[in-house]
């Protein structure tokens, strides 16, 4: 048997095997931190086999190319950072189980499959693997009703969106007789039919659900608020990026001939998403909910990259997600730091006077809030800059202007957090912070990356551009 045929999928195989190993380790290891460390080592092992993986396998169902590899690195960063911020947090929430890390790895595996899928069936199964793992993770704090609620809501709505995705896939199959994304384009030959419009709408709805585009965002605030904070961080980046990867691949390769049609839908959704995310975020007093709406808004920005299309648009979208991973998880890491025994640390009130009581934490939060707003010299600025540049380049200057206006609105609620930290006096006894070495490490990585990406972004930009090819 020729072993080289499975080379493109080797990273996924390694990941699956190690996820199972982690599952078994849980039986023998009582210090669950060790399992977390093992999960990070597993990512290292998987990254090690990635360079040799380039190529296509399984009759063109699966491909390992620059595009997918770039996304896979986003997933790895997401996994590593999420594991780092989980270790102490899980202890505080009294939900320290080894399966947690294993499920995170399975979710990441699902994302990797989604990014690499060139067949709609593989894409669907990858999505299902990712989604099922995150449903479970969202309900991981079993004794917390909010966590249960989050898992249930996420599961019901997620199952519904999966069904819609399948509906779209069957329609495309009925039209073309194939599920291969590349073959779809050649089978359709640019012929527009009513059925294809339906299929496109279904696909947009299904991906829009995972990305949390308005009006398919309804689940996001409740789920993000209820889920364990570390998982909120995990799923605000990974699954979103994976859905973006799939969206980008399906729409810009399989359905590229119908770009004018889906572009119109995406533009409308993008504007609506930015509006809903940014405006509703203003009302939130719970920081997790606020970040949920902020993540909806950011999805609205990132979609602009797909709308702009081409190498420039896609690489801008990829860059944006790359930067977003650091700044968003960084912000959640600070939220987690405030979660100690007895204090939820999720309300805006808890940030009152943080600069006085814990200056370092306040500075870190300041950086992440600046970056999420898009203020230079942080990574968030660079991400937005290239996105809007791509939009202008593709002839959507007005869309860029709309996005900038919404960014300005977003400054209100991001900077309000800063104001609470710096302009208000602390009330009562200052609570201690739940710091730990892994959490510190996560904060260090995210802060450095947010600054570096803001000051010296060219190597990363070049990487994304190279990945697109």
């Amino acid at each position: 048997m020729d072993i080289t045929i499975i080379k493109p999928i080797l990273p996924e195989i390694v990941m699956a095997a190690l996820a199972c190993v982690v599952l078994i380790l849980e039986l023998f290891i009582h210090k669950k931190e060790t399992i977390g460390v093992f999960a990070i080592l597993a990512v290292a092992a998987v990254s090690y086999v990635i360079p040799q993986s380039f190529g296509s396998a399984f009759n063109g169902m699966f491909i390992s190319d620059g595009y997918s590899v770039f996304f896979k690195f986003i997933f790895f960063i997401n996994l590593i950072l999420a594991v780092l911020i989980s270790i102490r947090y899980l202890k505080i929430e009294r939900s320290e189980f080894g399966e947690y890390y294993s499920l995170m790895m399975f979710a990441t595996l699902g994302m990797m499959i989604m990014a690499s899928a060139t067949d709609l069936i593989v894409l669907y199964l990858g999505l299902e693997l990712m989604a099922l793992s995150t449903y479970i993770l969202a309900g991981f704090i079993r004794h917390d009703r909010r966590s249960n609620e989050a898992a249930l809501k996420y599961f019901f709505l997620g199952a519904f969106s999966s069904a819609i995705l399948l509906y779209g896939i069957t329609m495309i199959y009925a039209l073309t007789g194939t599920t291969n994304i590349l073959a779809i384009a050649s089978q359709l030959q640019g012929k527009m039919t009513t059925q294809l419009i339906l299929a496109i709408v279904f696909l947009v709805v299904a991906f829009g659900f995972k990305i949390a585009l308005a009006p398919f965002h309804m689940w996001t605030p409740d789920v993000y608020e209820g889920a364990p904070t570390s998982i909120t961080a995990f799923m605000s980046v990974g699954p979103k990026a994976a859905a973006f990867a799939a969206l980008g691949r399906v729409f810009t390769t399989g359905l590229i001939d119908f770009a004018p049609d889906w572009r119109g839908i995406l533009i409308a959704l993008s504007i609506l998403t930015m509006a809903v995310g940014n405006i509703l975020a203003i009302q939130q007093s719970n920081i997790k909910r606020m970040l949920a709406y902020s993540s909806i808004a950011h999805a609205g920005y990132a979609v602009i990259g797909v709308i702009a299309g081409g190498a420039e648009g896609l690489s801008a979208m990829m860059n944006y997600l790359f930067i977003y991973a650091f700044m968003n998880i960084g912000a959640f890491a600070v939220v987690i730091m405030l979660r100690v025994e007895g204090v939820k640390g999720e309300e805006l009130e808890h940030y009152r006077g943080l600069a006085k009581t814990h200056p370092l934490a306040a500075v870190l939060m300041l950086i992440f809030m600046f970056s999420l707003t898009g203020i230079p010299p942080t990574g968030g600025f660079i991400g937005k800059f290239y996105l809007f540049k791509a939009a202008v380049g593709a002839g959507y200057a007005w869309l860029a202007v709309v996005a900038v206006v919404f960014s300005v609105i977003s400054a209100y609620f991001y900077l309000r957090v800063v104001m609470y930290m710096y302009m208000h006096e602390p009330e009562g006894e200052p609570a201690a912070l739940a710091t730990s070495t892994p959490l510190g490490l996560a904060l260090l990585i995210t802060t450095i990356m947010v600054i570096v990406l803001g000051v010296y972004p060219s190597p990363f930009l070049a990487f994304a551009r190279l990945a697109i090819g």
């Binding site: 599952l23 699966f62 320290e96 189980f97 399966e99 693997l129 479970i136 079993r142 059925q195 339906l198």
Partner: protein, 169 residues
């Protein structure tokens, strides 16, 4: 003959599906669903897919639906049975559904029969569907098959983690 049976199965599937939604008693809903699964299996049979038809009944009717029954029975929904209207705003839902139906009917025209490729009706009939399905599943579609196994594994882990693990106090 074929048209007659297809029409029969199609109408029965529609009728049962409507009854599933309309039944006030959740147990009756499940029973209508059971009847519907049988008719779906009938459609599979007409497509020469006898293996799918049998697994449809074994898996859906025999396992999944029984679990539905279990859950519904243990929930004891006697009070919910007397609720007049389960959800508000059903006219909105109905009009959306009707709109979708209209669009789907419009889209019906663009369906067309595609070439069969390697597995034509004659070939499937000769090799039997079980063998044909097995061959395709373990060669061409090996990757999706394996991913599906991982999905099931995750589902098992989830069930154990969420239901069985002892809470730490």
């Amino acid at each position: 003959m074929v048209e007659f049976f297809f029409g029969f199965f199609a109408i029965m599937i529609l009728f049962c599906s409507v009854m599933v939604v309309m039944s006030r008693n959740a147990i009756h809903s499940v029973l209508w669903m059971l009847v519907m699964f049988f008719h779906v299996a009938g459609v599979y049979l007409m497509l020469n897919a006898e293996f799918l038809a049998a697994t449809q009944i074994i898996v859906y009717a025999g396992a999944i639906l029984v679990l539905f029954l279990f859950v519904i029975m243990l929930l004891n929904l006697r009070e919910e049975m007397n609720i007049e209207q389960l959800i508000d705003g059903w006219p909105a839902g109905l009009s959306l559904a009707v709109a979708m139906l209209v669009v789907l009917i419009l889209a019906l025209g663009s369906f067309s029969v595609k070439p069969w490729g390697q597995w034509s009706i004659e070939v499937v009939e000769k090799t039997t569907q079980t063998k044909a399905l097995g061959k395709v599943l373990y060669t061409e579609y090996l990757l999706p098959f394996e991913i599906a196994s991982l999905v099931l594994l995750v589902a098992i882990i989830g069930a154990v983690v969420l239901a069985k693990k002892k809470l730490k106090s």
